[in-house]
Symmetry: C2
Subunit: 431 residues, 2 copies
């Protein structure tokens, strides 16, 4: 069996994880016999907890083996794993685990989802300011094995306050006898434990950090967020924006159509009812349609085009909101969308006016369609930028104002505009 272990440990922990996940449940039982909890923990540190059935994996193991493994994982990853389990299982594993590890995990478990606290880890390297570079390096050699990242070393005073930071790069190039206090940077960029994970991601992206310290509201050091976790956050947020725009959870793991249908139907049915208002509205104009059936021909063209324009406007607005621009710039954005709507509406309206005029030899009809197009696009652009902003102000995620919602709403306004304009010319159509 030595040979298997030799080959297995030639692999990177990520590859070990891929191998492990590809095994059958019976084969994994074999593996548990050959790997120590610590070795399995290294592998588990590389698994995307949210995309795998970790609950099932842990249940396959002997409970104390699983608890041991969890205690050897980096605390942030252990917490992510435990967050996939039932509360009673979490309590069970924590009770079997050695108290020290259980305590560290419990300290992190209670942080709210999507905050810095929920993604930080406590395995960082902290030193005192009044030691030399040499002694710090000696300490680092000891601490390296247990730390998630050793390339930033944090300087903390006796009371736990974060007072400085030094990169390993600076540590290496400085003189052995220099005092940390003299070579550290006292201006530390840190994030608060309750900060939104998206803000943490923005900070790390702007500053090109590999890790950022997390402090409480009194600037006491609590942990660090590392860049690999931030990449997961960026992926998550991108998927959530994308899902929002489409009105569907694109991360849905299940290939199971029944499950997929169940997740998509709430939106479809909700929007069906909104669509019913549009139908009711058209119903009010049924007499007009009956007299001038040509009007029916252009309903979907007008609603469709306005919906497309509204979707464009929505996407730009949601994106801008994600970039945290201030109120003034947002009023500018809405004004800009209004003008963009008028310009695109004018050009699209003129185009359709000419086409309809020539096609149907009827420029009055062309004018009605073109005019309706102009107004409908302008309103759709306005709605596409205003609605996500209002949702943001009201504390909702603006990405929830999905494309389907905007197009369905824009159907309603477009139909209203179209038939209102057509009614003005009613005498003309009905003769």
């Amino acid at each position: 069996m030595m040979t298997f272990r030799e080959i297995f440990f030639e692999l990177h922990t990520y590859e070990q994880g891929e191998f492990y996940l590809a095994l059958s449940s019976e084969e994994r039982q074999q593996l548990y016999r050959y790997l120590s909890p610590k070795e399995l923990a290294d592998l588990f540190d590389g698994i995307e907890e949210e995309q795998e059935d970790v609950e099932q994996l842990l249940k396959e193991m002997d409970s104390s083996y699983a608890a041991d493994m969890l205690s050897y994982m980096f605390t942030d990853n252990a917490v992510d794993t435990l967050n996939q389990l039932d509360k009673k299982d979490v309590a069970m594993y924590l009770s079997i685990m050695e108290p020290e590890s259980a305590k560290e995990i419990k300290n992190l478990l209670h942080y709210e989802d999507d905050t810095a606290g929920s993604i930080m880890t406590t395995e960082y390297v902290a030193i005192a300011a009044d030691q030399t570079v040499k002694s710090a390096m000696a300490y680092l050699k000891e601490a390296a094995a247990d730390a998630e990242i050793i390339y930033y070393i944090f300087v903390v005073d006796e009371a736990g306050y974060l007072v400085g930071v030094i990169s390993l790069r600076d540590l290496i190039v400085n003189d052995d006898q220099a005092l940390i206090r003299d070579v550290m940077s006292e201006r530390v960029i840190s994030v608060k434990v309750g900060d939104d994970q998206e803000d943490v991601a923005n900070t790390m992206r702007d500053y090109d950090f590999l890790a950022v310290p997390v402090t409480d509201y009194k600037n006491r050091m609590l942990g660090i967020v590392t860049v690999d976790d931030i990449i997961d956050v960026i992926d998550e947020e991108a998927a959530s924006d994308y899902s929002g725009l489409a009105g569907v959870d694109v991360e849905e793991v299940a290939e199971n159509p029944l499950h997929a249908a169940k997740k998509r139907l709430p939106w479809l049915i909700t929007l069906l009812f909104l669509g019913m208002s549009t139908a009711t509205l058209i119903g009010h104009y049924e007499a007009l349609v009956s007299e001038a059936s040509i009007l029916a021909v252009f309903i979907s063209l007008i609603t469709g085009t306005a919906g497309n324009a509204g979707t464009q406007s929505l996407a730009v607005a949601v994106r801008r909101l994600a970039m945290q621009e201030d109120d003034r710039s947002f009023i500018r954005l809405i004004f800009s969308e209004l003008v963009t709507g008028i310009i695109t509406g004018l050009i699209t309206g003129l185009t359709i006016m000419v086409i309809v005029g020539v096609w149907k030899h009827n420029f009055t009809l062309g004018f009605v369609i073109g005019m309706a197009m102009l107004c409908a696009i302008t309103v759709a652009n306005l709605a596409g930028s205003l609605i996500p902003m209002l949702m943001d102000k009201l504390g909702f995620d603006p990405a929830v104002a999905s494309g389907p919602f905007i197009t369905t709403l824009s159907d309603l306004t477009s139909v209203l505009i179209y038939f209102s304009i057509a009614s003005l010319f009613m005498s003309y159509f009905i003769g």
Copy 2:
């Protein structure tokens, strides 16, 4: 002025950049007098070249000052900056620059966009296998100042082949007298220079790397890609997927509505012509609508709902394609979307059948609407998953099959389905 420099260099280079960009052109002229090209280069390394008018900024500077600054920047960033300029300006700066730097930049400039080569940098630390840990550390101290990242050290033989890698963490914990050859990892995960940047991002994300070596097709070391560049790639790809879904470039910098309209109109007008087909199609049924104007009432409800379902399906398909799944899983996806379409279509169709039946006291009409809804949703789901797959097979970016395109196309199929079914019951409607 010493005071200004003191305050200025207290700032992180990212903050220096923000400060610099906020200055007026005249104020920046002052700054150029107080900062050396090297100091400005550190600041420029932190600027997002694609989001700023770097052409303008460089033109403000004395040409030789600008060329000096470019030569002090990390090569990948200098290349990104030069890629924003006209070819003749690039040639000009390269000719003023000292030949060594110009050569390094030219080596990177010719790599195709969106490949590993286009985002890599050449400032990495390379050592030989037959030296001791101690001598490697001594070399590292020298090299640290010029390297973009020193936390992975690459082992390269005389011919330039990549033969190993060792992390600074391992270097530190190993014995001073150990030979690099004995402590390095010989199994190096690397990417090829022509690899797509998205694949490079996937590798770095999976392995949680801070940097990955880039080699040519003979495994000769060419450079490294660092995690900060990968974060930019992930952002870029996410923005491009999001833009695709909305049929608009959400990265459009300009707040200028005229500019925005110009970028959005091509899609809108193209889709307007596709929408014209739908109008023409309805035109064929004008006689039917004229007799049974109630049919017009439900056009937008059916096209809208099917469009929403198609958008959901599209988003799921594009996302799966981005994850590079194999052909078999894709056929499964299309089958799954078909079944999902039938299930959601059945439930939505039944709902609307009951509503219309009760509302209009007319269950035959309800049946027609419900049946049309079922078929239209199924077809939209199928189109939403099939079309991006076909585009991918034909070598186009599947994300270009935007939501607006799918909804507009789905308008056409939905109308066709709706009126075909209604025609079958024509005798009933016309009586």
